[in-house]
């Protein structure tokens, strides 16, 4: 058994994801990508009804980075899963690129990054990244080309022949982000992707995710329970609360679009973070 590989060098910041052509599903700048109105989910189990999410009205435009933040049980993951068609709404309406979530999923409109890397242990890193491309029926050469491009983007080129269990947690999650990007979806959905990582690794990944978003013009929806992470990454922050899960505030970030880690020390950053904390507390007090 080989020892776990040392941490790969940070994502090279000179790399740019070269988009071959506009994605066929890509909407014009500023157009609404996700639109929810009166959206709700009620789970029924053992004759008990649990309201996981209720009355969500939200519009996310192209190119935005939107964070969903709130305590456990506030329905932030449920909302993300609704967008991804992994959970079904019981009330209200939701469109993704003007389609139902199911249609959008069938057209492979989004890449999804889970809480855990969910890499397949019998595939090496490169073959994990190629998994969506295989499912989508791309020719072998094209799969190779795209895999090497996204692996370079996340700084894992040297590790492409390694197996998931030979990588650190941070590298595994980078591989899973590379996998989500490999088919160039215009929308990236992320469910607490850095939740299980230590703070130093997290900081690095957060910065690189920000740079990635800037270069690619992706629309991103990011679930987190970390206020600094949400403020640092987002153009808008959706604050949610539990029992029942709902949106309590939507906060526009006043930070410049281009940021580095130092932005966290600025007055602007602290005031946005304060606003988020107040909204979180408010939501908690109301419940």
């Amino acid at each position: 058994m080989r020892a776990v590989a040392p941490e790969a060098p940070a994502w090279p910041d000179t790399q740019v994801l070269p988009r071959e052509a506009a994605h066929p599903l890509e909407s014009p700048v500023g157009e609404t990508v996700i639109e929810a109105s009166g959206l709700g989910v009620t789970f029924a189990a053992h004759g008990h009804e649990t309201v996981a999410l209720t009355g969500v009205d939200l519009a996310i435009r192209k190119g935005e980075f939107v964070s969903l933040i709130g305590p456990s049980g506030c329905g932030k993951t449920t909302l993300l899963r609704l967008i991804a068609d992994l959970t079904q709404a019981t009330s209200g309406s939701l469109t993704v690129n003007g389609m139902t979530p199911a249609e959008a999923r069938q057209k492979r409109a989004y890449g999804y990054v889970f809480q855990a890397p969910a890499l397949y242990p019998w595939r090496n890193v490169e073959r994990n990244v190629m998994l969506p491309l295989e499912v989508m029926g791309l020719p072998r050469e094209e799969r190779r080309r795209r895999a090497s491009r996204v692996l370079e983007l996340v700084g894992l080129s040297e590790f492409r022949r390694r197996f998931p269990w030979q990588l650190s947690g941070g590298m595994q999650q980078r591989a899973s982000i590379a996998r989500a990007l490999s088919f160039e979806p215009p929308l990236l959905l992320m469910d607490e992707p850095f939740g299980a990582l230590d703070e130093i690794t997290r900081d690095g990944l957060t910065l690189h995710l920000h740079q990635l978003w800037q270069r690619t013009g992706l629309t991103a929806v990011f679930v987190t329970h970390s206020v600094p992470e949400a403020v640092f990454l987002s153009t808008r922050i959706v604050v949610m609360s539990s029992r029942p899960g709902r949106v309590v505030a939507v906060i526009d970030s006043r930070l410049p679009r281009e940021r580095d880690l130092d932005v966290r020390e600025t007055q602007q950053f602290l005031s946005v973070a304060h606003e988020v904390r107040v909204a979180l507390r408010q939501g908690h007090a109301d419940a």
Binding site: G111, N124, V135, F163, W165
Partner: protein, 284 residues
């Protein structure tokens, strides 16, 4: 060496106890055959070389095996090699049947809800029927419709060994976690893609242990199926004729040969597993 040494130690203990036990076990027979004025030592020596001992010594069995394996032409009815090959072929044939049927049943159970609900009790019942009871019926019925030779024995061998394959594969095909399945769902993967990209590869960790259980069962099935055929060929036939005529050496040689075949079968499964593990970077 660290792996071989403990095995050799156990073997040495077993052989020592065996030799020691053969003296009292064969004493009365040796004493009855001995001269009136034979000493204790003469009788003790005689217990080691009886023609039909109650408990043959390891040396006698080894000698018998070497002779019957290597010193008869392979077509001779006395050749142990001939009988071992017959049984090995039937077992292999049966194992292939059980692998095919076991995996096919598991795929059906995993994908079709009706089969999941209805099939399992019948499969369990099939294993509750003693194979000794059903083997003669199957062999005789198939013989009546002209199916003789290896096929009826292979069917019994398959019957006895498919169950661990089915249960192992049902568990294995369902062993992927929710996130791994959701991932393919987000790619809009088809049922057959979910099978080839996720279910099948994740079931391998269950298939190989199941095969290690099934392989010796197939061997037992083949031997049992040889018993009611008038003892024409195979290790089962050697066991049967041996017990008819009280040829204990022949029985023990056949038993040991069966054990060696089982070890060989499991070794082959291990080799196949090692090949797969290499392709997976060192883990199953």
């Amino acid at each position: 060496m660290t792996r071989v040494l403990p095995v050799l130690c156990v073997l040495a203990v077993v052989i020592t106890v065996w030799f020691a036990a053969s003296v009292p076990m064969n004493w009365s027979q040796a004493a009855a055959l001995a001269d009136d004025n034979a000493s204790w030592a003469d009788i003790a020596a005689a217990t080691q070389s009886l023609e039909r001992p109650l408990l043959p010594t390891p040396a006698q069995i080894a000698g018998n095996m070497v002779t019957t394996l290597f010193f008869y032409p392979i077509t001779a009815p006395r050749s142990l090699l001939h009988h071992a090959l017959v049984t090995a072929w039937e077992s292999l044939f049966g194992f292939v049947i059980s692998l095919g049927a076991g995996i096919a049943l598991a795929i059906g159970i995993v994908h079709i809800r009706t089969l999941d609900r209805t099939l399992m009790p019948w499969l369990v019942a099939s294993q509750a029927i003693p194979v000794l009871a059903i083997a003669p019926m199957v062999v005789v019925v198939l013989g009546n419709i002209g199916l003789t030779g290896a096929l009826p024995k292979a069917l019994i061998a398959g019957w006895l060994s498919f169950f661990p394959i089915t249960t192992g594969m049902v568990k294995g095909l369902r062993s992927s976690d929710v996130m791994q399945r959701d991932l393919l769902h987000t790619y809009n993967a088809t049922v057959s893609q979910i099978f080839t990209k996720l279910r099948w590869p994740s079931s391998m960790a269950f298939l190989f242990p199941a095969m290690k259980v099934a392989a010796p069962l197939a061997l037992v099935g083949a031997i049992v199926a040889e018993l009611p055929t008038g003892a024409q060929a195979g290790l089962g036939a050697r066991l049967l004729t041996g017990s008819y005529y009280g040829l204990t050496l022949q029985i023990w040689s056949a038993l040991l040969m069966a054990a060696l075949l089982a070890v060989l079968a499991i070794g082959l499964v291990d080799v196949a597993q090692a090949v797969l593990v290499r392709g997976r970077g060192g883990r199953l």
